[in-house]
């Protein structure tokens, strides 16, 4: 088998990474609660994936390998930030990784469905999502801005996420019919 050129290696890495990135991102966002920190960790995982790509055994799942690297970066993140403790045990991280790997095939379709579902939300709900996910506001800050309480904001966000999850399932069912 002819050896891959550097360009071919890069193309292969790009393709594999784009397929694995949503699951890696979900894994990191579940394990590291601050958006900013989680995004830094995802970037570090991407760097590690590129640097160590030659170690990747192509007979195995790239996504599982990338999540394995992500696990090390998450543990490093907590080690560097000394006083914070790792939120999940290593066993729980492994189980979360396994669960995400089994969902790989549907992640792209889910991302597309999510966009459609966000459009269906009432403006008020979208504003709440903007405050939480775009502006990175805490429950207390959002509550202050809405003259509401943090408990109420929590409930509203939970319901919006439930609605989105149901909507995404509906959209995916439509596609399979």
């Amino acid at each position: 088998m002819p050896e891959e050129s550097e360009l071919e290696v890069r193309e292969r890495l790009t393709r594999l990474w784009m397929g694995a990135e949503p699951a890696v991102r979900a894994f990191v966002f579940a394990s590291v609660q601050s958006f900013q920190d989680a995004e830094d960790v995802v970037q570090k995982v991407a760097l590690a994936v590129a640097r160590r790509f030659e170690e990747y055994d192509s007979s195995r799942s790239f996504q599982a390998w990338a999540i394995w690297l992500a696990k090390s970066r998450v543990i490093d993140h907590y080690r560097v930030h000394g006083r914070e403790k790792l939120v999940f045990s290593e066993q729980l991280l492994d189980r979360l990784a396994e669960s995400l790997v089994t969902r790989q095939s549907e992640l792209s379709a889910r991302a597309v469905a999510l966009e459609r579902c966000i459009e269906k939300l009432p403006a008020k709900s979208r504003k709440l999502l903007e405050a939480r996910y775009e502006d990175d506001h805490s429950m207390d800050t959002i509550a202050g801005n809405l003259n509401s309480t943090a408990a109420s904001v929590r409930v509203m966000l939970h319901r919006i996420r439930n609605l989105l999850a149901e909507c995404i399932e509906g959209e995916l069912r439509k596609e399979t019919i």
Binding site: Q33, L47, R83, E84, E130, E134, R154, R161
Partner: protein, 459 residues
């Protein structure tokens, strides 16, 4: 916990919105429930996707507020954006990859605190590169996969793809990958060679060197000696200024009155200093014990408890313990009667409040042990100039990497031995005790509950 309540809590977990106790409860529930882990995985996908989507929508609003074509979320467009988002990272990967020229042997993977302006993630480090930081942390990954975390103040130099020199400060090394085996941290006093492990090397201003092994094993080669010293998980090798080579082993106990540890023996009536032998005595050199409370049950026991052959009977028994009054500097002085060859010194502590799990502040061992050989003790602070020998410095919080009280073992033992032969011929041993890092109700640092000190004589 109902399923709906559990799911609400998992949403809050993802939001970083749970209190510590709620988080512990939620994690405990997750450990028991594989279906909840699956639900969390799905929710994490939604959570991460929402972050991407809402951020992107915000950018779209800011950059092209009236662009109608971007309002139409066709599948092709959305997929295109997703590809673009991933491609941004991939482009970053390639620029990093291509920038890694032949001279660099390591790179910076994380920067925190004050040094972010001088160092950037992805900076390539070549042989001879010196890194000096006053505060914060920098993580450096070497080509062989060894990951070093520098904590300021620290002066560190890259010597090769597999070796670095620590002039001063603290470096944590994680060398899990097989290729990282053999990674070496060099100091002026010797070299620490990894055998597949995790260890912390530190060099103090006064030249005190220390290696703590968290897992696995390292080999220490001391300068001017051909001998090798294996330091294993749970052991600490300290090299005091001068030529004394001392190991300090620190272990957590089984939290029973039997004080059982992995390798350190329990408190003993057979040691040289035990009160039953009638040779040694113990007194306060400095400070006062905490015996002024209105509640006698909360008072320290007498200092003689330290040599009575047993430690505390329970986790929170002040009268069985010996502890200084809050806020004072204190030291215990052991008089061994005559100068003897001291082979080993063990120290035991235990404290855990029964009602409040986080109240286990008084088990930490933080002290310096000094030895003095002659009969006539000098006045004043112990110092090398006055003839004292600094035997070892013990800090169990640093060893256990305690960030909050719940990470601190409630029952602890430290065991100090010479690497070869004896710690020294000493008549007196002085334990200069530092307070715990926790403040009492009055805001003054409180002190450790010491249970027993055992001194073993050499032959």
């Amino acid at each position: 916990m109902t399923e709906e309540h559990e799911r609400r809590q998992l949403d809050r977990l993802l939001d970083g919105d749970l209190s510590e106790s709620e988080r512990q409860e939620t994690l405990a529930s997750l450990e028991q429930n594989p279906e909840a882990v699956d639900w969390l995985a799905e929710r994490a996908i939604l959570h991460a996707s929402l972050r991407c989507s809402m951020r992107r929508r915000g950018l779209e609003r800011d950059v092209t507020p009236t662009a109608p074509m971007l309002r139409t979320h066709s599948r092709r467009w959305v997929t295109g954006l997703a590809v673009a988002a991933s491609a941004v990272i991939v482009m970053a990967l390639f620029s990093f990859w291509l920038a890694a020229d032949g001279d660099s042997v390591a790179w910076i993977t994380s920067v925190s605190a004050d040094d972010e302006t001088r160092f950037q993630i992805g900076d390539q480090l070549e042989v001879g590169r010196r890194i000096e930081i006053e505060t914060g942390q920098i993580v450096i990954e070497f080509q062989n996969g060894a990951i070093t975390t520098l904590t300021g103040p620290c002066v560190f130099e890259i010597e090769s793809a597999t070796q670095a020199f620590l002039e001063r400060g603290r470096v944590h090394t994680l060398a899990e990958r097989p290729e990282a085996k053999g990674f070496t941290i060099r100091t002026l006093r010797g070299r620490v060679v990894d055998l597949g492990t995790e260890f912390v090397t530190s060099v103090a201003k006064d030249g005190h060197n220390r290696v703590d092994v968290t897992s696995g094993e390292v080999v220490v080669h001391l300068s001017g000696s051909t001998a090798q010293h294996h330091v294993r998980r749970g052991e600490m090798l300290a090299i005091e200024p001068g030529e004394r080579q001392v190991t300090v082993r620190i272990e957590r106990g089984d939290e029973t009155p039997e004080f059982r540890f992995a390798t350190i023996e329990p408190p003993s009536r057979e040691d040289y200093a035990d009160a039953s032998r009638g040779i040694a005595s113990v007194s306060l050199r400095e400070g006062e014990l905490s015996v002024h409370s209105s509640n006698r049950l909360a008072d320290s026991g007498p200092v003689e408890n330290l040599l009575d052959g047993v430690a505390q009977r329970g986790a929170d028994v002040p009268n069985d313990s010996v502890f200084f009054r809050n806020g004072v500097e204190g030291s215990f002085l052991l008089d061994l009667g005559t100068a003897i060859s001291v082979r080993k010194v063990n120290c035991y502590t235990w404290h855990q409040n029964g009602a409040f799990p986080e109240n286990r502040v008084r088990a930490v061992q933080k002290f310096t042990v000094w030895g003095f050989a002659a009969d006539d003790l000098p006045e004043g602070e112990p110092s090398a100039e006055a003839g004292w020998v600094c035997i070892a410095r013990v800090n169990t919080d640093a060893y256990f990497q305690v960030g909050n009280p719940l990470e601190r073992p409630a029952q602890q033992a430290s065991s100090i031995e010479a690497l070869h032969g004896q710690l020294g011929p000493f008549r007196y041993l002085l334990f200069a005790v530092e307070p715990t890092p926790s403040l009492g109700r009055s805001g003054i640092p409180n002190h450790t509950f010491f249970g027993e000190i055992d001194v073993y004589a050499g032959h």
